[in-house]
């Protein structure tokens, strides 16, 4: 009876050990697919092409390049006084009035880069501190928004991002689909008209 108790105790010990091991989430972590941030270069440090003395994460640089190209394409299409070219939302960045020590375009570029980097797997090294998407795109809560966005505006914006991704060498359809999926997940809070 005494031996039986000892055997039962050993069996219980082994079983609990096996249970703890099987619950360890290391295996799950190893199986996790790479984040979009990692696919775009992740945390590998590279020289910043705009300022070679500074280093920047490749994932952040990829996003920033696409963001800056998107802004370039939108600014190129602005027709003063005309509707449907996103001018009401983006024209102010051409102004050389700066907010403190930073230009309007550098602040917008930073906000968008932070937002996409932090929310697609780069959250450990990138932080977004701006308004939430509903507040940022509601003229009543954010006076600088000008007018509410329509579905057509947002379709056009996604088109600009796709073109900008192509200009920056992001041509893998699977990768572009992932970027578009992220943008589509934001449609509901952004489109308010």
């Amino acid at each position: 009876m005494k031996n039986f108790s000892k055997l039962a105790l050993v069996a219980l010990f082994i079983a609990s050990g096996a249970f703890v091991t099987s619950c360890n989430d290391d295996d799950d972590k190893a199986a996790e697919p790479a984040s979009l941030y990692a696919k775009l270069g992740g945390t590998t440090m590279v020289a910043d092409p705009n300022n070679p003395s500074q280093m920047i994460e490749q994932g952040r640089l990829s996003y920033r390049s696409v963001v800056d190209s998107t802004i370039t394409l939108i600014v190129a299409d602005i027709v003063t006084g005309a509707e449907g070219n996103l001018g009401a939302h983006f024209a102010p960045i051409v102004s050389e009035v700066s907010s403190g020590n930073a230009t309007n375009v550098s602040i917008l570029s930073k906000n968008l880069t932070d937002f996409f980097s932090a929310n697609t797997g780069g959250g450990a090294t990138n932080v977004y501190t701006g308004l939430d998407m509903v507040a940022a795109h509601d003229p009543a809560q954010n006076p600088r928004m000008g007018v509410k966005s329509t579905d057509a505006d947002y379709d056009k914006f996604i088109g600009y991002v796709g073109a900008a991704a192509g200009l920056n060498g992001v041509t893998d359809p699977q990768l572009i689909n992932e970027v578009v999926a992220v943008l589509e997940s934001l449609r509901a809070p952004i489109v308010q008209e």
Partner: protein
């Protein structure tokens, strides 16, 4: 009896002193924490904070040769970073370091280099003082308070 009164009064004075000292101590401690916190707070870092986007609209036909010439001339101007010219619409958009040259200076230098028929894109009045989405509301108390504190220490 008289001694008792004095002793009682001294005891009350001592209690008041301890309370006042504690409150002062806590206040000094909290103030020190606030000062250390503000002094060590990192200002918001913006990649290339002085980078500006500007635009020039060409009023003459642009072919690929002319586009290359414009690109070459633009690259000669100090402060210009990247540029993109749409041949079909004749719209040139470029990024430049505003600490080195503003859009008017760059426009004048480009026209001097190539005598192009082109106009500098200038925002209509009313739009130029606005900032673009999505940044913190500048009318809010939190924005004004944090800007004030940052200006003292940075």
């Amino acid at each position: 009896m008289h001694l008792n009164k004095i002793l009682k009064k001294m005891k009350i004075n001592r209690t008041v002193k301890i309370i006042a000292g504690s409150i002062l101590g806590i206040f000094v401690l909290l103030f020190l924490v606030l000062v250390v916190h503000i002094a060590t707070a990192k200002p918001v870092e913006i990649d290339n904070a002085s980078l500006q986007i500007s635009r020039i609209d060409f009023k003459e036909p642009i072919d690929s040769l002319k586009a290359k010439e414009i690109h070459r001339n633009l690259k000669k101007i100090p402060g210009v970073k990247t540029d993109r010219l749409n041949i079909e619409t004749g719209v040139l958009v470029y990024f430049h370091d505003i600490k080195i040259a503003n859009s008017e200076e760059i426009y004048n230098q480009l026209i001097a280099l190539g005598d192009y028929k082109a106009e500098r894109f200038v925002l209509p009045k009313g739009l130029e003082n606005k900032t673009a989405c999505p940044v913190m509301t500048e009318d809010s108390f939190s924005y004004k308070f944090s800007r004030g504190i940052q200006r003292i220490f940075n």
